[in-house]
């Protein structure tokens, strides 16, 4: 059974335009899916929808979210609460502010175990120690009594990971877990996440805007633009031969080579992401697309899925072997 299946999801405020639209996504057990897109394209909202942590003004308006076959988008909070932390864990972007400053690291880990597993104080502490060792925090015993401010950003993110993994969930959602960290720490955290994902056979939904990170950790990649999926497939296949012009643009916009004087200017995608209420009819990307034609204005392209699992939402996809 598919671990996480999101089917035709629409998320938005009551009356105005939806922010996430026609979003379909699956994550299998033991698989890492990289969810990629610009800021504001709906990546984080997708994650919060799964967790049931959407801000009060936003709701799932349409579609289904299935976790191990169970529909969870319409569950009341008190039932959803039992799934959070137990079946699905989440790692947030800002390790510096993601932990409660007035509680020790130990108590922030043990409370998950006590809530979901009903462990005794001693048993929970023993498991917390195990978890800190699992996320490779040295001198774990002493660190249990530390407060978050006594730890570096990388250490704190390890604690956040330990909390997310405390009850051995089957799904882990990581929302830009390394964005706020410096590069060397980033690499360590990525390696740790990848290792834990393999050891625990986790389904990992990894949200990022960094294509290099995706190539490093993910098996499959899902590219979002303006609230919906525009391209999907095996990481290497998509990154080596993108079919959607937006994906191609993203790849071309990555800094490569030197920043020395005389080096070529960074490529960019002209224009900017339209706000949800300003999304045009037809293809939402057409205003910024070098390949746009009149059909793109008249008709919203569907996400066309090939038997290989490769999917593209474009009337005029790039064909393999043709550079963008």
């Amino acid at each position: 059974m598919t671990l996480l299946h999101i089917d035709n999801l629409r998320v938005g405020p009551g009356r105005s335009a939806p922010i996430v639209e026609e979003l379909t996504l699956t994550v299998e057990r033991g698989e890492t899916v990289g969810l990629v897109g610009e800021s504001g394209c709906g990546k984080s909202l997708t994650a919060l929808s799964i967790m049931g942590l959407l801000p009060e003004n936003l709701r799932v308006r349409q579609g289904r979210i299935l976790l191990e076959g169970q529909e969870i988008q319409s569950l009341p909070q008190r039932k959803l609460r039992h799934l959070r932390g137990e079946k699905m864990g989440m790692i947030f972007q800002e390790p510096l502010t993601a932990l409660n400053p007035v509680m020790t690291v130990g108590s922030q880990i043990t409370e998950v175990l006590r809530t979901h597993r009903g462990l005794s104080a001693n048993a929970a502490r023993a498991r917390a120690l195990e978890l800190l060792t699992l996320v490779k925090i040295p001198d774990a015993e002493a660190r249990l009594n530390d407060y978050p401010h006594q730890m570096s950003g990388g250490m704190r993110q390890r604690v956040v990971i330990a909390i997310a993994l405390a009850c051995s969930p089957s799904l882990l959602i990581a929302d830009e877990p390394t964005t706020a960290l410096d590069v060397t720490v980033q690499a360590q955290i990525l390696r740790l996440l990848k290792q834990l994902q393999q050891e625990e056979n986790l389904g990992l939904l990894f949200i990022t805007h960094d294509l290099g990170v995706v190539r490093q950790v993910a098996d499959r990649i899902v590219v979002m633009y303006a609230g919906s999926v525009v391209e999907e497939g095996r990481v290497d296949a998509v990154l080596d031969a993108p079919r959607h012009p937006y994906t191609a643009g993203l790849i071309a916009a990555r800094p490569q080579g030197s920043f020395a004087a005389g080096a070529p200017r960074l490529a960019d995608i002209a224009g900017s992401v339209p706000a949800p209420e300003a999304r045009p009819d037809g293809c939402v990307f057409r205003a910024r697309c070098p390949r746009a034609q009149s059909r793109c204005e008249a008709e919203r392209p569907a996400l066309v899925r090939a038997p290989t699992g490769r999917a593209t939402r474009c009337h005029f996809p790039l064909t393999e072997g043709v550079p963008a």
């Binding site: 942590l53 932390g85 989440m90 409370e111 490779k136 407060y147 250490m155 410096d182």
Partner: protein
């Protein structure tokens, strides 16, 4: 661990570099000593300032003594000489500070007793009044504020906010008079005024009950305004904290909403309330004159008020001294509380 992972910033991160211990004093002890020194300096500045202010005002304690009796010019002159009032202000200041250093406040002519004795007799009244009102208003106000934030934007929040506004806008002396009219005059449930029933000779538990009955109305009158303040600060502080990332983490862990609210958010929201408690103690200590007068309580506020109008400078300065001391002590306690509530606050 299979591979040695290079870890950045472990070990001493955030704990600060281990400095060589200077003069073998623990940081906590050094902190307390420094605060003590600061307190002594503050008290000296307050007393010098107050003394000079009092001297700037016309009239002295001999005028006060002369006002009630027929004294000849000679008698007045000899009294001035006896109390050192014929000396220059500077000499008087030095003498007063020397006297103060031995915890002697001098003589209080309107009470015909040492000022210290007068103040010590009235201190308990004020202390009980302040402690009861601060703790009650803080607890009740915080409960209101937290409830309002829990139901922010809903009917409960609106109701509490309106009630807070009412308490906030009504002067405490009006509330005091209303309370007396309703509970003492009409219903006869509680005594009208005073600290205890005079001449009843109560002892033990009966005495405590008697004092408590006398305190209910004045404490309530002193609380109302501050309940509104704590309520408003508490609500705002909770709403601020609830927006922070760690609250989302707590929800993401699947904790109950109650635990997210009362364990994770509340403790972080308490700091501004503790600050307010410090301010409240300071302002009530000598500032409850109106309420003390309405309820006929012999507290510090009234003592100061009487001392001002009857030119009893020693008594007035004594009250200033005790009130300042209370403020200094309360500030110290508040700083200690900060450290307990927020581990990020350091001994500094």
């Amino acid at each position: 661990m299979s591979e040695p992972v290079p870890l950045t910033g472990t070990g001493t991160t955030g704990r600060g570099p281990a400095k060589a211990p200077s003069r073998r004093l623990s940081p906590a002890l050094r902190y307390v000593l420094r605060r003590l020194l600061q307190a002594v300096l503050v008290m000296m500045l307050v007393m010098v300032g107050s003394f000079l202010l009092v001297k700037l005002a016309p009239g002295d304690m001999v005028d006060a003594m002369a006002g009630t009796r027929d004294l000849t010019a000679d008698q007045i002159a000899s009294l001035r000489e006896r109390y050192g009032l014929d000396q220059s202000v500077f000499v008087q200041l030095i003498r007063y500070m020397a006297l103060l250093a031995t915890f002697d406040f001098g003589y209080s002519p309107i009470n015909a007793a040492p000022a210290m004795d007068v103040i010590l007799a009235r201190l308990p009244v004020t202390a009980i009044l302040v402690v009861c009102s601060v703790s009650l208003s803080m607890v009740i106000g915080t409960i209101f504020g937290v409830l309002a934030s829990r139901f922010a934007g809903k009917a409960v929040d609106l109701g509490i906010s309106l009630f807070m506004l009412l308490l906030y806008a009504t002067p405490s002396f009006i509330i005091a008079i209303l309370l007396i009219l309703i509970f003492a005059v009409k219903l006869h449930w509680l005594p009208i005024a005073g600290f205890e029933s005079v001449g009843m000779g109560y002892t033990g538990l009966t005495y405590l009950k008697d004092v408590a009955a006398h305190l209910i109305l004045p404490v309530t009158a002193l609380c109302t305004f501050y309940i509104a303040i704590y309520g408003r600060i508490g609500r705002a502080s909770m709403l601020e904290v609830l927006k922070l990332d760690f609250v989302r983490t707590a929800r993401g862990k699947g904790l109950t909403e109650g635990r997210v609210f009362y364990v994770h958010a509340l403790r972080n929201a308490l700091l501004p309330l503790v600050t307010m408690a410090g301010l409240q103690v300071s302002s009530l200590f000598g500032g409850a004159v109106l309420i003390e007068t309405i309820f006929g309580l012999p507290g510090m506020g009234r003592t100061a008020f009487d001392a001002v109008f009857q030119r009893d400078t020693n008594l007035l300065l004594g009250v200033v001294f005790i009130s300042s001391l209370a403020v200094v002590i309360v500030n110290f306690v508040i700083d200690m509380l900060y450290m307990v509530l927020d581990p990020r606050v350091n001994l500094k």
